[in-house]
Subunit: 302 residues, 2 copies
């Protein structure tokens, strides 16, 4: 069984590759929940939904958010009546969010709800929210403390990031056991600060990882992230924005770091931090490349 730590949009692309080459039962995805929040009265667990829609072959690959071919009738009418949504939610996408909201209010845990939904969508892989307890994430900036969403959307990532702070939450019931039962853990190429670190910071996760064969894929290629604001966050926390910075962040519990062909020149420097570095194409611009990267990673454990 292969366990993947996921968040944002980088890792879901790798999951597309993994699901092509593995039996879906062999894949378990642990997902960041630190950005979960209520928008327009519905509970939005963005990172979980992206994973769910990806595994169900429903993901909108243009935005890596929401359902492919979804309509926006409610969203547009809200705009029309002068109550624009802070997040653009599609009509089908809203249904899965409404179900989560209702079931949460009925006392189901997020883990239970995700399980119900992924079964209904015929997903055989496990999807494990990192925690069933909501956490706050705050981006401390030169324009004050901002919610992640405010920083990302309202402020367009403009403010200078000084720190990233999130509340400590307990692991969901299956988080640690899923890592323990896996043959290999993949830390996907997601934002290390806002997607991966929240999972790693949960009690017991790093210890569980240290006993496993862990491969990380660097989300930084060259001097910048493949997508998103990871660079600003890494800078703020004192890491250089490069695969070297990633190696430093992950060195205590990662056995092998995969870096992109473009970063081959960093191989020797990274080897002073981490024993094992592998080099391949990590720019997942086609399903073929995603599958190749998935195979490259899973072959490391043979």
């Amino acid at each position: 069984m292969i366990c993947v730590l996921s968040g944002g949009t980088g890792t879901p692309k790798l999951i597309q590759g993994l699901k092509e080459i593995l039996d879906s039962e062999e894949l378990s995805i642990i997902v960041n929940t630190v950005e979960n929040n209520y928008f327009s009265g519905v509970y939005v667990s963005g990172d979980i939904d992206v994973v769910m829609y990806t595994l169900a072959d429903m993901i909108n690959e243009e935005f890596w958010y929401g359902i492919r071919g979804d309509t926006f009738i409610t969203n547009e009418f809200l705009e029309e009546i002068g109550c624009p949504e802070p997040l653009r939610i599609g009509d089908r996408d809203r249904a899965t969010k409404i179900e989560k909201t209702i079931r949460l209010s009925e006392g189901y845990t997020l883990s239970e709800i995700v399980d119900i939904q992924k079964n209904k969508l015929n997903i055989k892989s496990k999807i494990i929210p990192m925690s069933d307890v909501d956490s706050d994430i705050k981006i401390v900036t030169d324009m004050g403390d901002l919610d992640f969403h405010d920083f990302l959307i309202d402020k367009g990532c403009e403010p200078k990031v000084l720190d990233v702070v999130y509340s400590k939450v307990p692991p969901s019931d299956q988080l640690i056991s899923t890592i323990e039962e896996s043959d290999m853990v993949i830390i996907g190429p997601s934002n290390p600060i806002t997607s991966i670190m929240p999972i790693l910071s949960i009690e017991g996760v790093k210890d569980a990882l240290k006993k496993k064969y862990v491969v990380a894929v660097s989300p930084i290629v060259g001097k910048s992230p493949v997508s998103g604001p990871a660079g600003q966050f890494m800078n703020a926390l004192g890491y250089e924005v490069s695969a070297v910075g990633i190696a430093k962040m992950y060195k205590d519990f990662v056995n092998c770091l995969i870096i992109d062909n473009q970063d081959k020149y960093l191989e020797d420097e990274i080897k002073t931090i981490l024993d094992d570095v592998k080099i391949t194409n990590t720019m997942m611009k086609s399903l073929e490349i995603k599958k190749d990267l998935a195979k490259f990673i899973t072959d490391l454990n043979k």
Copy 2:
């Protein structure tokens, strides 16, 4: 200014007629809120929305519920993922319900929210919720106490009604003054027990009505209501299901009762209860009939 007490679907049909023959500024609608409740995580003020959509020329006249031509994409996807909605909510209709839910959670009163929405929909008439405080309505039946919605939809109005009980709520800010400022009050042909009585039972309403010229339109024609379960409720509370029963219920504060041509034979009996009875066509099967009835009523005050 003409003030109408409304609920359900009978009175909105009359409102369609009234808005054709009056300046919309001259029309104020006081609306029952006793059945308001949360469904699928959104606040549903059914009777208010019907009035709002009717005044905005958006009402779905097939069901007298929701918006004409609305789609049901979220509703259908909720069904597909195994989370069917207890109420079928359309995509545009959901937007107005989401806005109400959000604004209620932000501390707006229902009256303020309805005002915002009706202005946005270019409605010049006033729409006054009877109360800004939520009330419970319970249908006491031989199958136990039921919510109104459970009785109506889940149980298909089957159980024998023994009593109807609702909690006492204070008037909204504009309820009494709207009656006081009106030249005439029309009690529309809505369910007298579940739509009209909740308004009448609010402190100060009957006293305000006694000082006004009040015309009621009987919702009962022959031995049964034109639509809906009013008959069962009237029976349970000891009123005969006929225009005579309506006259007995309303006699203390109504100056004139309008009954349908078919009930002409009841005229003498009703005159022993109420001084003034008028007879006309109240079966509002076309816009022409709605306008004729509206004109017939408003002419009574000239």
